[in-house]
Amino acid sequence: MSSESAATPLNGAEIVLKALVDQGVEVIFGYPGGAVLPLYDALFKQNRLRHVLVRHEQAAVHAAEGYARSTGKVGVVLVTSGPGATNAVTGLTDALMDSVPIVCLTGQVPTHLIGNDAFQEADTTGITRPCTKHNYLVKDVCKLARIVHEAFWVARNGRPGPVVIDLPKDVLVAPGPYTAPESVVHRTYRPRTEPDPAAIDRTVEILAGAKRPIIYAGGGIINSGPEASRLLTELVERTGYPCTLTLMGLGALPAADPRFLGMVGMHGTFEANNAMHDCDVMLCVGARFDDRVTGRINAFSPNSVKIHIDIDPSSINKNVRVDVPVVGDCGKALAAILARWSDRKCQPDRKALGRWWAQIAQWQARNCLAYERTDRIIKPQYAIERLYALTRGRETFITTEVGQHQMWAAQHFKFEAPNHWLTSGGLGTMGYGLPAAMGVQIAHPDALVIDIAGEASILMNIQEMSTVAQYRLPVKVFILNNQYMGMVRQWQELNHGGRYAESYSEALPDFVKLADAFGATGLRVGDAADLDDAIRRMIDLPGAVIVDVAVDPAENCFPMIPSGAAHNQMLLGPADRPGDGRASEEGMVLV
């Protein structure tokens, strides 16, 4: 212990803040309450850490996710006990599903009251156990500093995820020792990051012999850092192999790369899904064969040799049996593959690859993302296309809510770099986009940050417009307003005989007035001729803007793999119906 800390012992709250500073934290997203008052008091007395006050604890976690995913740093959340912690649960689950590094500090009633049903008591570690990577209840101030450092280590190493530290109020006021982060060595958690050289050899051997290869990459590349994206791009360039990305992986390979086939999966492109189905070698990098990607599992890519690179061994052979598992960090594995490829002077089979690309070109010629062009009515796809066209060349971050608008954004906005696309993939959390955009904007004050939203999703965390106002965040909310919970309506149309139970967005607010009420600018556009002007105004206005874009309410999101169908059974448009026009019986029960 240093003489300084010996002279003035810190209390628990001060230890927490000192540990955060030593971990490189700059911003905390939070909301105060009784159990965390000592922490807020300590925050008040310092100026190293910036606190951003949200309006709901769920939004604090999403904002921290936005901050984390756009910077690669750990996002930090501070909420009170009881309802503060339970409100954070959706955000924590979202971060767990999408592997976002978060440290969430929750207040707790004093240790002697735990278990007494005290005011604002909840069993936070019990509730958050299945929705965090790990959690701690700190009962002894002497362990506090070590636990905070350990929490950061656990959150960012291996497959990243959210970690909760539950802090009883008496621990926050008790004096205790401080330990520096260097001294933290984890007893049990040591994830493997270096891939097995033998598995790399085998991978390169299979890749070099491929006739119809595909590289299928996901969010693991983004989590591994920008270098992994660069290496993926290099691998694609060196081999000339086609590459598809998952929803979470968009930006890992520049969208402009001619070998990019677009997104894979339920609303992925016709060419990507058919290439996945017909390939003979599949290299999966940092993706997890999610059901939204695979479609019907027993019809998934039936004739391919599958290689799977993942830092989480439990992702391997979970949904799909693979032939070559490679446990390790995506970036390290890609570097090793490239090195081995060079060592062995591997050459792709040009002739076979030529034939494969010719086949892919035929799929691409179907132009699966095409939509009906209209004069006046704004098609949602067109709105995204224009948004992309008019924001090109700027540093632009896109967040989304969840639903049709999210899929249209993924299909029609082109991402050239990692960490610029933030969406709730695994959990599918409506209400994610606005708070996530706040987190991005806090981390990148000068960037253009746009939440592409639906009129239903945006209302789920609309209170955050108040946070946007308080911190003068120039966040842009671009609402594709079709007056429906569009994806729900689309499924009701496809699977439930067009009975639109409760999916109509009744009694919507006037979004222009709503923007005004929160000190932002509201714009409304309903005519395609005025769309470009509205987007330009949105970009040029210095503050927060809500653009309410009235889009064609009947438009559905295509192409689509209906639930229970295989990759090569895509619906390309509204006229295209599976079998008798409904999803299979088997598919009906799937979500």
């Binding site: 156990r129 209840l137 049990t188 994830p191 439990s314 979970k318 049996r321």
Partner: protein, 171 residues
């Protein structure tokens, strides 16, 4: 489909964990949350100085599910290591049962006779009851319990399986 259904296998798995609050809840929660079976689970501290506990669990599932169970257990933060004794080779499984039999006359004598055959010990006795203590593989206990039912078994306590690999090698 021509291929046969994957077979269900029974595996005995040892999980070495940090003896910290909530670690058992993590393991059990994992099984409940992901729909895995637990046939038996025992836990006790085995190294007080190092604060290490050993969980012995018996589970069943297809080979793919068993592999998932081990991978999921291994990624829990307080888990030191996961060992599949069934896969690793020959191992010993032992379980202890306490069996209360209430009977008089011939049935009482017969229960005592069978207890002797199974090397069960009488650890408590009244004029009309016995408590037997019996140790062995789960199948042996099953057999003994089955015999005791018609002879007046009224209550049964079983510990679940503790298991260890044969031979000189340790985990």
């Amino acid at each position: 489909m021509p291929s046969s259904q994957p077979s269900i296998e029974r595996h005995t798995i040892v999980v070495v964990v940090d003896n910290e609050p909530g670690v058992l809840a993590r393991v059990i929660g994992l099984f409940a949350g992901r729909g895995y079976n637990i046939e038996s689970l025992t836990v006790a501290e085995v190294d007080a100085a190092a604060g290490v506990s050993r969980i012995n669990l018996v589970t069943s599932g297809t080979p793919m599910v068993i592999e998932q169970i081990k991978a999921q257990l291994d990624r829990l933060v307080p888990v030191h290591s996961v060992h599949d004794l069934t896969e690793a080779g020959p191992h010993i499984e032992r379980e202890l049962a306490l069996i209360k039999v209430v009977a008089t006359g011939e049935r009482r004598i017969e229960s005592l006779r069978l207890a002797d055959i199974f090397r069960a010990r009488v650890v408590d006795s009244t004029i009309e009851s016995f408590v037997f203590e019996v140790t062995g593989a789960p199948e042996k206990l099953d057999a003994f319990v089955k015999l005791m039912v018609p002879l007046g078994l009224v209550e049964l306590a079983r510990t679940g399986v503790a298991a260890i690999a044969r031979g000189g090698r340790s985990l």
